[in-house]
Symmetry: C2
Subunit: 455 residues, 2 copies
């Protein structure tokens, strides 16, 4: 228990914040966060997971004001928030707050863009709210990580709902009291279990967080009251879901320390704990060439314990399972240099040459190894060995993706779904989010044929 007014102080900060209070470099990272998220949502839009979600919820849609990104269907904003949150996470390619493994944009941007198609807002307002939402989400995650995550909560869902509520509530102009209600309504909807990893339901979590966070803000705006201390109360969110509660992480240096500036973007379309391995295996392939890769007799990985815990599938059968197999990922990076969505298809996972190399990969846990590091020892048929140590993988804070690399990532995945021309136009729009109508960006993600039919 604490006697600090965590919910109240956080709400007061959210409500009082102005566009000008956010430093230029934080706003710039916000734009990168948006660009990366939009590319992932469009890139995931034709996934069977999104098809299934649409089949289930579309018959219940309200007025179809909001775009399902990268698709022809439209939904009401609450359901669009759900489905866009799903598509943005389904390739496991979205952004990461590395301290907590939260994927920040999914819950926040999915809710906010859907809201932007319901109520007009400027690009500047949108970006401020996006950054506020990400900041709130990551700070709450910091407060309870790692205990909360270790207990089994999928923190992107459980913290994400606060970010979505804060962002939407900010745009709505909620009073401080209403913002406290919105945060508490988020707290009481916070959910998502790690057991769902490896199934479609993992992607459901950021979607549900987006939908429920938006709903929390709408309820609070309508006068649906709630606790004023849902975060820190004895039977509030932090105490119920975690044995660690560090409220300095929530309230400390608000407005000067920006977690939203620490966002990172994956170069590879899978769980972030495999990234050092893919990076290292790609480097090895570049150094030794494909012929020498064919002579590999064994690959030994020394990794942080989370790697085997989260991605220990030795015999993945589907593309989705491949994302949770450090063995498949290493084989694919060595044989094909690939870590993009093309590496995680059902077809590639079942290729005999991939399976043959995959079965030669072993992973050993080294508790001293950092999560972002790996040591790889390759043994060749002639008995010689090669060792590669990756201290920080591409995409980490120390080796961030450049704007150019983000662009390649965006177009590579979005073009597969909506074509290269549309992907390029959409990307150009997305970089200008601060000066354009956010709703227009959503509409610009729809494949041209559908837009022509609608006009």
């Amino acid at each position: 228990m604490t006697d600090r007014k965590v919910t109240a102080e956080l709400a007061a900060w959210i409500v009082a914040l102005t566009d000008a209070d956010i430093p230029a470099e934080v706003r710039r990272e916000g734009v990168r966060t948006f660009v990366n998220w939009l590319g992932c949502a469009v890139g995931g839009a034709d996934h069977e997971t999104v098809d299934a979600a649409l089949r289930a919820v579309s018959p219940f849609s309200g007025p179809r004001e909001a775009t399902v990104l990268g698709r022809t269907e439209r939904l009401d904003p609450l359901h669009a928030a759900l489905v866009n949150g799903i598509s943005s996470h389904v390739l496991d390619y979205d952004d990461t707050h590395l301290k907590t493994i939260v994927h920040p944009a999914g819950p926040v941007a999915s809710a906010l863009l859907a809201l932007a198609e319901h109520r007009e807002m400027s690009g500047t307002t949108f970006l401020t709210a996006l950054i506020v939402g990400v900041e709130v989400e990551c700070r709450l995650a910091n407060a309870v990580y790692p205990h909360h995550y270790d207990r089994g909560w999928h923190i992107t869902g459980t913290a994400g709902v606060f970010g979505a509520a804060a962002a939407c509530g900010k745009v709505m102009g909620l009073s401080q009291q209403q913002m406290q209600w919105a945060l508490s309504l988020a707290a009481t909807q916070s959910a998502g279990l790690r057991e769902m990893f490896g199934t479609m339901t993992k992607s459901f979590h950021p979607g549900a967080a987006a939908q429920n966070g938006l709903k929390a803000a709408l309820l609070a705006e309508a006068g649906y009251d709630s606790s004023l201390q849902g975060i820190e109360a004895l039977r509030g969110w932090a105490n119920v879901t975690s044995e660690k509660q560090d409220y300095d992480e929530v309230l400390g240096e608000l407005g000067s320390r920006w977690e939203a500036a620490l966002n990172s973007y994956k170069p590879y379309a899978c769980g972030i704990v495999i990234h050092p391995t893919i990076d290292g295996c790609q480097q090895i392939r570049e150094e030794i060439g494909a012929d020498r890769v064919a002579q590999i007799a064994g690959v030994q990985l020394y990794t942080h314990p989370l790697v085997r815990e989260l991605t220990g599938k030795t015999t993945p059968q589907t593309g989705l399972e491949g994302k949770f197999s450090v063995y498949h990922s290493a084989a694919c990076a060595l044989l094909r240099g690939d870590g993009a969505p093309t590496a995680f298809t059902d077809e590639v996972v079942r290729l005999p040459e991939i399976i043959a190399l995959r079965d030669k990969v072993q992973a050993e846990t080294d508790p001293a190894m950092h999560e972002a590091s790996v040591r790889i020892v390759v043994t060749f048929e002639d008995g010689s060995t090669l060792e590669k140590y990756v201290e920080r993988a591409l995409g980490s804070l120390e080796r961030p993706l450049s704007d150019e690399q983000l662009e390649v990532k965006f177009t590579d995945q979005a073009a597969l779904v909506v074509g290269a021309d549309l992907a390029r136009d959409l990307l150009a729009h997305a970089w200008k989010i601060e000066s354009v109508d956010p709703a227009a960006i959503a509409r610009a993600s729809v494949p041209a044929t559908a837009r022509a039919e609608a006009s």
Copy 2:
């Protein structure tokens, strides 16, 4: 951890169950559960909490196929499940599974009746699914109670979502695998914090459980896959939300031991832990008369620890807060003999004579006292005392409400919202749930003026 296949075995039982597998006395209790729930939902329908929820979600409603019980508005089935779940709990007058303090019908019946307006089903099918949902919900609650509740989870929300998913999935005819997905999709949406007690958000929990359970079944039906072991997995629901996991409570004597037969119905419109106090105070009033009540100098209650924990508000300011004040409840029962919704209005809570007597009530915790018991010692101005011990309150399993008492309860509360004639007709329909179209019952709850306009 367990090696039992809890989710799989439970799903198999749900899927295989036939109408005839449910004993007549259990079906009879199911009808009583339905009647009590319907009266509460109609009785709560004009509450400001329901108004606020409708303001927030109605603009996002899909095709308005489903009835908001006791009101003229209509909503899509997912939103109707939410709002009817809220109204059925908002007076704290709904049913109780006494072992776990779950209020079973809210999540299950709200989801199921909304679904019945979307897909035709017979009354027999409806009743079977209602009983299945209540059974699943109460068994899961048994498995984790009391630790789960003590940690701070509002178990009506957290267990209720499973009941709604099971009931809706049963009607949809899900396969066993789909039912496992539906239960896991429920598990990953399980939420609701006890901190919200005393605010509108408490009632949000059964509503959200209804909406999310229905959504879980719809997703599973559409092929949205999930864990096959969402209940018992290492990072599944039971382990993540509780330190107690007793899977015999889930799987033991399935089909022969019926938790759904142990449902109970409140005679008083407030938290069940206050009921022994109200019962005892009403008995005292009857025994001594109003004149002698006016000479009370002090009232000493000796109660189970939960009473002060849950209902310890000494100076309630609103009707809602009055429900969480054992002091107000005792005063109102002594002065007016009242424990109905009329005892918990803003006006009554602020009456000077109520406040004067309330301030003379003291509550002391006795760890040896059963939750359903109370010892009351009244001291009069002349120094004499009167002692009353209530071993089991009216409405407990040992002293259940008769059908006639359920009828009085139904019409007393429903008549305030929809008028006495409609309340009487609706009650007659509700008793016949097994032989009528459930959707017709929902429509029959709408005030006559609105129905006339619609026809």
